[in-house]
């Protein structure tokens, strides 16, 4: 087996195949990064809206709670299919990358809303009380009092979550997004050895994920020793 791999290797590691794989890896990163930025915005918004107090706003709070709870209990693959067919029914004419992006934003939004909520709760109730007694609105309270104290609690799990999605976006291959996993399947279907193609794909995922994991741990350790401000 090893002999045949060595014989095949030069045929596999050509400029074109490598370019194809690297571009696909970039698509994976782009999908993850854009999805998590969008997901962070959505998740933060939902966590903040859940902190509103007006009686008239309860449907909004209920919606945020429902989205947060629902999409953390549905597999990524199912959400992906659901979004895919929903966009098809709406005839929006989006390409598969943007369909996958929408799915990632919703799921990331749900998980990050939970992370942000936990961050908000890590800020002592007396800080919220003082802000309320001084007539701060929600936006002022979050911006000037809560976030400066909560970001240390929010950042590490949010970052781990981001890294998780580098791997989870592999599922986007199922609706035809040409990301890293899809590229591996294409090369495998062309007749290249599965050991080489999927081996290379695994290696590329590892190269994206591992350094970021290390960075995340480093940042977390640094933050743990810093004081509040």
């Amino acid at each position: 087996m090893l002999d045949s791999l060595i014989a095949e290797a030069p045929r596999f590691f050509t400029y074109w195949n490598l370019k194809f794989l690297l571009e696909a890896a970039l698509t994976t990163l782009a999908l993850t990064a854009a999805g998590c930025v969008g997901g962070f915005a959505l998740g933060f918004l939902m966590a903040a809206l859940r902190r509103t107090e007006g009686a008239a706003l309860w449907p909004l709070r209920a919606l945020c709670l429902a989205v947060t709870e629902t999409f953390r209990r549905v597999p990524f693959l199912v959400t992906l299919f659901l979004v895919f067919y929903l966009f098809e029914a709406l005839k929006l004419g989006l390409d598969t990358f943007h369909v996958a992006l929408a799915a990632v934003v919703v799921i990331a939004g749900a998980y990050i809303a939970e992370i942000v909520r936990a961050g908000f709760e890590s800020v002592h109730q007396n800080q919220w009380d003082a802000a309320a007694a001084m007539n701060f609105g929600l936006a002022t309270t979050l911006r000037h009092v809560v976030l400066p104290q909560a970001w240390k609690v929010i950042l590490p799990p949010a970052f781990s979550f981001f890294i998780l999605f580098i791997k989870d976006t592999a599922l986007a291959s199922q609706i035809g997004v040409v990301e890293l996993t899809y590229a591996g399947k294409v090369l495998n279907n062309k007749g290249f050895s599965a050991v080489l193609t999927f081996g290379a794909v695994l290696a590329l995922y590892f190269l994206m994920s591992y350094p970021l994991t290390r960075l995340g741990r480093h940042v977390e350790a640094r933050l743990a020793t810093r004081r509040t401000r």
């Binding site: 009686a55 007396n126 009380d129 003082a130 802000a131 007539n135 002022t140 400066p148 509040t228 401000r229």
Partner: protein, 245 residues
């Protein structure tokens, strides 16, 4: 017309009733003190007056106007007339002393930063912290933090100042300084509602003392009567116990 008046106010945390039909009034410029054993509901009254806890029944009137706790705009208007100094200071941990004092007038009051900061520095100097403008709460002692909290409350220019156990954590040599500040404010016409265990302070400063137990007002009156000639047995027990120390 009373400046602040509570009429038959009932409030609860979850199912635990903490105020059970409380009524009393505070006149303009008056200093009223709430005393009583822990858990009697003294601090809860301050939470109701700052809108942090909604009463279940009864009425709160400020300047003769009943407060509608369901109307957020009017609740905010009521809050703007009060400032509270908390037992646990509740200083914003991410801000310097000066920022703690200036943030509300700038962000909520919409006043110019330079003017507010100059005033804030003066207020901090007045409570003896002129040299600590740039210090963060975790760099200050408990007593110093409480003085920042008093300056922060004064910066709101409130009509009514609510003091929740403010002297409990002050350094002994600074108590009189703070009392002087509070006396000045009283002379300026500031209405004050004070919760305290410091009976000397209460007796010296108050125009009226309200004794509470189990979420109810047991009796109220001028300090001389409450301390020297209490009418109720519970008041007598409490006063004799606390004065023995």
């Amino acid at each position: 017309m009373r400046h602040v008046e509570l009429a038959d106010v009932t409030a609860a945390y979850g199912r635990t009733r903490v105020l059970d039909g409380v009524s009393f009034g505070v006149d303009r410029g008056q200093i009223v003190s709430l005393i009583g054993p822990s858990g009697s509901g003294k601090s809860t009254i301050l939470r109701v007056l700052t809108g942090l806890l909604k009463p279940q029944a009864g009425q709160v009137r400020v300047g003769g106007e009943p407060v509608d706790f369901a109307d957020r705009r009017r609740l905010r208007a009521m809050r703007a007339r009060f400032a509270v100094v908390f037992q646990q200071f509740n200083l914003f941990q991410n801000m310097t002393a000066l920022d703690n004092v200036s943030i509300a007038p700038i962000k909520v009051g919409g006043r110019p930063r330079r003017e507010v900061e100059a005033e804030g520095a003066a207020l901090l100097a007045r409570v003896g912290l002129g040299g600590k403008l740039k210090a963060y709460p975790d760099e200050l002692s408990g007593g110093q933090q409480q003085r920042v909290a008093i300056a922060r409350a004064l910066a709101l220019r409130p009509e009514v100042l609510l003091l929740d156990e403010v002297t409990a954590s002050l350094d002994p040599e600074l108590v009189s300084e703070v009392l002087d500040t509070i006396r000045d404010l009283a002379a300026e016409g500031m209405t004050m509602l004070i919760v305290s265990h410091e009976m000397g302070f209460v007796r010296e400063l108050s125009s009226k003392v309200v004794f509470m137990a189990d979420g109810r007002v047991v009796e109220d009156g001028p300090p001389a009567r409450i301390f020297d000639a209490p009418q109720e047995r519970r008041t007598r027990d409490f006063v004799s116990k606390i004065l023995r120390h």
